[in-house]
């Protein structure tokens, strides 16, 4: 692990274990506090997982998986369960490859999600990250709806030192994207990242607008690697699953950015989403600074859930 990565890992651990009531201490206390593996033990475990936003369905799957393993391996001591549990959760999150192919090709990243989840901020961080890799990045300020959104992205473009194409507030997001594609071509950009207005997933017309954006990209910027990231707020509960499902209907989602894991929320929803929807979490964010974004690694994430500071 590189120095830089370690720093981030530490941050994640500290972010995920800021309170006594987090998954970690909870889990540890039940492994130590129970003398045998019985219904009470499983019930307690269920409680801890649900309190981490893993959700009822996925929690049940995990517990079932654990019970099987306990039986198979004839395990009697709760302490011995810990490793099995970690593995069971990892299994739930294992959805095969987790590609970052867009880094190697000319690409366009469309960033979508509901209001206030951290789309613009994540784009700023991602732009900074790609720029540091020596890539030429162009941002498109296609959130023409929310007051001040364009200025906000401009500030991030500044911080990251990348180009930005923007229009007027209240203008047509399609036009901005059209212009941005033109600029990306003309400037031979490696990556074009498009910020979009927050939209609740149950608003039909706004979801239709996403399809329109998709068509523009399809038509104006063909043969470019397409990446569509949905940003989910790590403090969100079970509704994040619904969000992901609905956005999947409107766009070909290729990955998730999970934000705000620097609080006490466990982000267990990431487990639920990977398990139930098989969309990979690609990035997680643990703060508001430009370097508070990191590629997701389920191994690391689950370990972080179970590591104490």
């Amino acid at each position: 692990m590189s120095e830089e990565k370690k720093g981030f890992f530490a941050k994640l651990i500290s972010g995920l274990s800021k309170t006594r009531s987090n998954i970690v201490s909870g889990i540890d206390s039940i492994f130590k506090g129970f003398s045998k593996i019985d219904d009470d033990f499983y019930e307690e475990l269920e409680e801890i997982l649900i309190m981490g936003d893993i959700g009822v369905v996925t929690t049940e799957k995990i517990i079932e998986g654990l019970k099987e393993k306990v039986k198979e391996n004839k395990i009697k001591e709760p302490e011995e369960c810990k490793e099995l549990l970690i593995n069971t959760i990892k299994e739930q999150m294992d959805i095969g490859e987790n590609a970052y192919e867009f880094e190697n090709q000319k690409s366009v990243i469309l960033v979508i999600g509901v209001n206030g989840v951290g789309k613009t901020t994540s784009i700023g961080k991602l732009a900074g990250n790609l720029k540091a890799q020596g890539k030429k990045v162009v941002l498109a300020a296609a959130d023409t709806f929310r007051a001040g959104a364009i200025k906000q992205l401009e500030e991030w473009a500044n911080r990251a030192g990348v180009d930005i194409i923007s229009g007027n507030e209240g203008g047509d997001p399609g036009a901005v994207i059209y212009d941005a594609v033109g600029a990306a071509k003309a400037r031979n950009a490696d990556v074009l990242i498009i910020d979009t207005a927050g939209r609740l997933h149950n608003k039909k017309n706004l979801m239709e607008e996403l399809k329109k954006i998709d068509r523009i990209l399809e038509k104006e910027y063909p043969n470019v690697y397409r990446e569509t990231l949905i940003v989910l707020d790590g403090t969100t509960g079970q509704n994040a699953l619904v969000q992901a499902r609905e956005f999947m209907n409107a766009a070909n989602i290729t990955g998730i950015v999970l934000t705000k894991l620097d609080g006490t929320a466990k982000g267990g929803i990431a487990v639920a989403i990977q398990s139930e929807l098989s969309i990979p979490v690609k990035y997680i964010c643990v703060g508001e600074q430009i370097d508070d974004l990191e590629k997701f690694n389920s191994e690391q994430f689950v370990n972080a859930l179970f590591t104490q500071e």
């Binding site: 209001n115 007051a147 609740l200 079970q238 509704n239 006490t264």
Partner: protein
Amino acid sequence: MAFESLSDKLQNIFKNLRSKGKLTESDVKAALKEVKMALLEADVSFKVVKQFINSVTERAVGSEVMTSLTPGQMVIKIVNEEMVSLMGSETTEISLKPSNEITVIMMMGLQGAGKTTTAAKLASKFKSKGRKPLLVGCDIYRPAAIEQLKINGEKVDVPVFEMGTKHEPVNIAKAAIEHAKSNGMNVVILDTAGRLHVDEDMMNELAKIRENIDIHQTILVVDSMTGQDAVNVASNFEEKIGIDGVILTKLDGDTRGGAALSIKSVTGKPILYVSTGEKLTDIEQFHPDRMASRILGMGDVLSLIEKAEANIDAEKAKEMEKKMRKAEFDFNDYLESMAQMKNMGGMAEILNMMPGMGAQLKGAQLPDEKALGRIEAIILSMTPKERSNPSILNPSRKYRIAKGAGVDIAEVNRLVKQFEQSKKMMKQFSGMMGGKRGGKMGRFKFPF
């Protein structure tokens, strides 16, 4: 959405038990397990759910439910009552000082909760009530936050006070109050930066504002989609700053909003408003009872029941119910139930309130209000015999009726068909709405 509504689930559990007449404790426990799952799916805090289930169990295992012939409804009723009592039963208005004094309100919450937008909505609300609000930009961190506030202020025509991003929020707030004094403004709304409840420096910043300024109301703005962490957030803000009221945002989404219950039960502070859209007028009074059924995934089934109780003549309804059961329902009753339907506010509204019903009824082609008028005309053109025995309606009778009502014969045909469908629907409803007699709820039978 994927999940079956809670009331459907409970009905299913109890359906098979009816024949037994009485419920055992384990029956009730099974039902409450469903309630528990529903609450957890709705993101109510696990700890709150546990307490809640305990208090419901205590009541539900009592004789009241055990001997009831409509146990499903009894359980729902108890669950709902407990829920409403937890949510608080009254609507609460935000408290303002008299107009000749300055009321200072501080908005606070996590990042992305919707503070800035909500601040502008509140300002606009106060303005329409004749107050003179001032919005104050205290978010010196997030890029363009002040810009956002200024644009929103302009939209609602409320002045915005700001000092850029180089001053401490507490000093900005002090200066803003001076500004309000000298300009005759009487409600000062501080928009603060989003912050995590565990970020000590940032929480201290709020504490400092609170210590140095006479703040009348601190408002915690919470995203209604928040998960299990809502209790940590609320209790931290309550402990470190103190909360006077809560505003829930993004309720125009489809979240069940269990965070509301968690926050209320942890802080005991009233939820004042709900924010239901991106337009600056999209803010509404909070209704605890509605929230209760939303969290339970029951639509507004209880308000529907109340509405029905208020509007439907109990005796007539009973009689109708009997007929429905025996499938004796005819066009006379149809006419009758149409009249009652009008009292209740029309088909669309009623269906909206029925959880999970919208989808089931899609194929049934519901008439709109205008069409209802024509239906009435058609039925009135039938002879009493035809009304009470629709099976005699042959083509020549239909032709006569169509002429009498001034409609196309196709429309008469459609009505007759619809009538048959309605009969089927009613069977479903009567199944859903429960038992043979008894309780308040059992009395109401869907009239259409």
